[in-house]
Symmetry: none
């Protein structure tokens, strides 16, 4: 028995006046999602807890079966891990941006004009050379303005504030310790010094001189946020004796999956944006489930559309996820495979934010206790046979169907 878990990022929503009081899921044409609902058992799920808006990292941790209230220790380490930085227990990692500040340290552009990856790589190659007393410094740019900073050494802490003010027109924030420990104080001191050194290197860097000549904003500062350490998670292989893989193009989600002991499968054409190749992702899942017990397929752009307030784009992406699901269920042996479909959280087209509303969930496969729900949507699934579960319950529920959960007691 195998399982495929399909996650539409921020796919759930609230009823919209402009859709006649319906949600994007309710108006989208989604024959395959509905088929999963009709042949399966449905429910609603609070990814973390009722009313709590999840982040992408905490939502995925929960869907993989972890108690986020116990294990979560910041975004940075997952982002680093998902970006291919070889992060270890105890390292403190940050998500960073190449950005532009004026002489007064006021942020002019949080993404340095969405600097291209080539320029950022050249700048990063010099930042990597910086060494400091007290910690080993690891710096790596990923795509465009995005980068990862990680510190390794004794006595570090993730309890430090962001330098990224998250708004244009604000001054760069001072990094300060978030608690009274020596570790937090030391880490804040190191980050402050490091960011100053980075700033000095960037200010006078030939790449930035060249950018100015071209009229491009210089990438003259590194903004950091989301300090995090890796939690010591019991991996899925360890807990359930399974092999698991994830198909996903978002480093943060990939990092969570990797921390859970999943293999990250690269799929050509999976972009994490509107133009992602859902057919390629489906094919990759169909292949992967031959050698893995559990395959997670994550599609990001439903969330992007919600953040951007683009109703039709969101409906369109739901229909493409539906295509993907259709291709998967037609091409795997459904006598041997459980398919679960859900969202990692609600992202409201109206507020443009992650919301704490529950998400729909449907599981089809051999022997599930089917109900009379025939539509995959927020409101239809609320009447389903799973009732209302938590995100943290989904993985044991699936693993139980696979016969992988050990009996508790005698």
């Amino acid at each position: 028995m195998k399982a495929i878990m399909i996650i539409g990022d921020g796919m759930a929503d609230r009823p919209l006046r402009e859709l006649g009081g319906k949600t994007p899921l309710e108006v989208a044409k989604k024959p395959s999602l509905n088929l999963v609902a009709e042949t399966g058992v449905c429910g609603i799920m609070d990814p973390i807890a009722p009313g709590v808006p999840p982040g992408s990292d905490t939502a995925h941790l929960a869907l993989l079966g972890y108690d986020v209230f116990k294990v979560y220790a910041g975004r940075g380490a997952f982002e680093a891990l998902g970006s291919g930085v070889d992060i270890q227990l105890g390292d403190v990692a940050f998500r960073c941006n190449f950005a532009t500040v004026d002489d007064n340290y006021t942020v002019v552009d949080r993404r340095a004009g969405r600097i291209d990856t080539q320029d950022a790589s050249q700048l990063a190659s010099d930042l990597k050379k910086v060494s400091l007393k007290g910690a080993r410094v690891m710096f790596r740019n990923t795509v465009q303005h995005r980068a990862i900073l990680a510190l390794r050494g004794a006595g570090l802490s993730a309890r430090v504030s962001d330098s990224d003010p998250q708004k244009v027109g604000k001054r760069v924030s001072e990094v300060y310790p978030l608690d009274d420990t020596d570790e937090a104080k030391k880490t804040a001191r190191i980050v402050k010094e490091l960011l100053q050194r980075f700033h000095e290197i960037l200010e006078s860097h030939p790449v930035n001189e060249e950018r100015k000549k071209k009229g491009l904003p210089p990438a003259n500062i590194i903004l950091c946020r989301g300090a995090g350490t890796l939690p010591q998670l019991p991996t899925l292989p360890h807990q359930y004796g399974i092999q698991a893989a994830a198909i996903n193009a978002v480093p943060l989600v990939g990092g969570v999956c990797k921390a859970a002991g999943m293999s990250l499968l690269n799929v050509h054409g999976a972009t994490g944006t509107y133009d992602t190749d859902v057919k390629a992702k489906a094919n990759a899942a169909i292949q992967a489930v031959k050698s893995y017990d559990l395959v997670l397929v994550h599609v990001k752009a439903t969330d992007i559309a919600s953040h951007d307030g683009k109703v039709q784009k969101k409906i369109g992406m739901i229909e493409r996820i539906d295509e993907m699901v259709g291709h998967i269920v037609k091409n795997v042996d459904m006598n041997e495979t459980f398919v679960a479909v859900t969202a990692d959280h609600t992202t409201s087209l109206l507020t443009g934010e992650h919301e704490g509303d529950p998400v729909p969930v449907a599981i089809t496969g051999p022997g599930v206790r089917t109900d009379d729900i025939r539509e995959f949507s927020e409101r239809a699934c609320a009447r389903g046979g799973l009732g209302r579960i938590r995100g943290v319950d989904l993985m044991p529920t699936l693993m139980n169907l696979l016969g992988k959960v050990k009996k508790f007691g005698a």
Copy 2:
């Protein structure tokens, strides 16, 4: 106000192809169970947590309102308590089998040819005389090959492994400590020495000489498993100010009930197998509820049928539980009595194992918030007014109806 809780062991199941996609509960004729559903409030219940397959001991602990993640410390002590061994806090108890090994300590028969109780008693009377330095030894045979070993003394621990390899053809396992404490090491040493002494006594015992002459396998070894200590439970009488009794023929379940402060009522004809006298159990419940506030009635054989893969036997046992329920509701004052019906876990006829799927639950009695469910089954109850609850919620729910739960707050 009184309450009767009726538990069909492993009664819940998954839809089966050979039953046209229905579960045994769905196809069984069960007018009385349906009446409880129709006149009551229904729901589904995760005995422990979604996806977690419960044991009989943990499931019953949960149904009696205990948080098993906090209190559970192994099977042995409950088995001992339910077998009439006077177990105390701190004692380490094991479930044992009289078994047959060859000269190489390879298990030939895990039950010594299902040795009769008389032979086992004679053997046990000599094993009881063994004394050891470091702990007081208590040994008692129960029915056929079954026996209990308990150790009493300072500095003992239940963190030791089983000697029972649980399979014919395997060698007897060495007992080793499961953690690094002196207590575990000491206990393992004592058990090893004790089992060796038992083996020596049994090897040369006249009862076994006689058995060999008759061509019966000699009961020449004691296999032990499931080391456990008694958790310090707040009893039901203490928590709720009630008197409670259990009607049940399974020592493990009886032990849990006794640990919860319930009286164990012996019912002539209650066997724990297919031939149990459900009418006698019903009559005992009808009598008991006159003097006790809460009476638990447990029927085992639905679980046995599931483990054995016997579909029709399971359906038949459900119909006999239905008879029992019918006799009870007709003969108690339903203006004064709540009747709850449920299962302690799902046991799948297909896998033959306890599964982590939820179980149906229905509660009828004066003033319950009835819903529109008219059938007692896994899927019908999923749409009921109780929603999806946990096993640990059932006892407070019942005790609340009896007016026995203290207000929390002012």
